[in-house]
Symmetry: none
Subunit: 196 residues, 4 copies
DNA sequence: CATGAATGAGAGTTCATTCAT
DNA sequence: GATGAATGAACTCTCATTCAT
């Protein structure tokens, strides 16, 4: 694929991303994508054979773009507690921009493609987050900032709770206040107190 | 609607339930339902105009059928901690029978009908669970079984974590062991220890 | 399938027959058939899923309709030589009405579906004709009208020659005179002379 | 057309030949040809505008390549009966290598292009064969090897029978034994006996 | 009420053909 | 000459929905 082709491919993925944002996954047709990127019907098929391939391309690009604070080296200065707080705040922001995330589409996609490929980028991302959280908690405990008897479970619990908030936010109103309270509660379970 | 009609309606809902279990929500067509209940095409339309109405009927019936231990009067004898444990075990069972629940279909339905109706039965059920959990925790604290500074937040946190596990279980393998550990962790955050 | 359905099915087969006559087999689309029988797109699919099924239905009906003189009991009075001549004349007529037969379409169909099912109606018909011809020749020899050392091969040879004329007629002009001469020749190989 | 161009043209025809062998005529698309000869889409169009032109080029080349024993000067030594037998054996071989001949494709082509051009190479070849067979039979009769009252009709009859076997072989199994018997029968009709 | 044949809109997909490079 | 990306027409097939019986 030439350089120009790659450019076009990216243009399509960009347009598709918008469509998936607006319409979820299952409701999207190749025609929708065609119209969104202003190319011809046949032209789209030159790059992607179906919405599944398209969505996977969008996910991949999204994963490249997104980098969690957990992975950013920029936060080295901060204490484990501070990093955890930053991470939770980051998640909060993501949750609140309901219309602007891929959560719904991603779950529709996952429901349709259960376990087919145990190593979906989504699962990988989830696992990475759990691992990073665990390390953070262990550090926090070692440095005596936190109290936690089973960091592995605590990490998972936080990840599950966040996942729960994400999907819930897609289906009902969830306020910033609610999220703030949850953040405080989670910090609390690790023996940390948030000061304003 | 006559008695006979009601019977037929129930028959349809029953058949539809099976289909939604197997195929999720969005992938289901009126044709699928027609074939599943061995009724005529036109006949189905006498009762339901589209899959949305059908799914809502299924959900309603499901909510009638399901009663959580949290609402059952039978558990009055048990201590708050015991009841909480029973509830978590109940959720665990639900999560593990992945293929036999409506989680995926329900979320597909909710994603498609965001906020249209803020008072979906699902939200109601979620809120009721949160309230019941909160009461349980308050009782637990009062009776000095549990330690918790903000029962409201704790209750929500548990509910979110469970929701997170439910959807995650739909998309990746999740083991009984993992769930047991999470249950133990959650109990632990309330100062309770599970003894075998 | 009700009586009315059967009627409609026949109507479709009738219309399809015309189309296959005009356009052969491979060039025909479901759309062509739809337009030819004035029903809706979806309506056609209620009865036939593709042009292959349609063509097979046409062939079947054609085979029901066509009965060779070889099989007709009406010719019992005639001598073997007379019957053979009638059969050859019958074939001649069929060959000459070039536009009005299914030869081209049938061969296109057979080329596409080689050997898949060794027992196509076409092969059966061919074999039946060969058998009937053989019996005729044996009778002719026994009754001393004909001279033939290997009736089985003679029967096959006649059948192949007719098949050859049929396909050739589809692709180039072939005159009645040519066919008459061939008929005379074939009769001659069996020791019979045609008198005007 | 330069020398290099001619080379390329031949390369295309060669590749196309393979495709037509495998897929017949009507089922072949320009895309198939493009893929088969590893040339660019636009490049192919510089030489051929459609599959019809392509197939005609293949036929032409095929006719150049094929030379029947009937036309070969090498057989001058043999008697008419021997030459006829050689010719029939040659046809037998051609018929038996079912997968490796153009019969099916050619007929599909001819069915689609009926009479448009009365002088197709195929018709020419057929006529030449008939003429050569006729001459052979006349010679055979003159030299008193054969018995035949109407060599012209006999020649045509043989040609039609062979054509019949060719198309039949494309659609159903036909054995070497069957062909041997037919050859013996045809020779017999001319008063000749095959000795092993 | 109940049936199921019929409709037609629309999704998916493939290719012949063109054209800027 | 040669390339291959791009176009758009055409075809297949499926369903939601209607309606005469």
């Amino acid at each position: 694929m030439g350089n120009k082709s790659l450019q076009k491919r990216n243009l399509i993925v960009e347009a598709a991303r918008d469509v998936f944002f607006r319409c979820g996954y299952k409701g999207v047709t190749m025609k929708d994508i065609v119209e969104a990127c202003g190319i011809s019907r046949g032209g789209l098929y030159l790059y992607f054979s179906n919405t599944k391939e398209l969505f996977e391309a969008v996910l991949e690009q999204e994963n490249k773009t997104l980098t969690s604070v957990l992975e950013s080296p920029a936060v080295k200065e901060a204490s484990p507690g501070e990093i955890l707080l930053m991470y939770l705040e980051e998640q909060k922001k993501d949750i609140l921009k309901k219309k602007g995330n891929l959560t719904a589409a991603t779950y529709e996609y996952l429901f349709e493609n259960k376990l087919v490929n145990a190593d979906t980028p989504i699962k990988k991302r989830f696992d990475e987050n759990v691992r990073a959280l665990e390390k953070l908690i262990i550090d926090g405990v070692n440095e005596e900032w936190m109290v936690c008897e089973s960091p592995a479970e605590a990490a998972k619990n936080i990840a599950y709770a966040i996942e729960g908030m994400k999907v819930t936010a897609q289906t009902t109103e969830i306020t910033a206040k609610t999220l703030d309270n949850q953040i405080a509660y989670i910090m609390g379970t690790l023996g940390m107190v948030i000061k304003d």
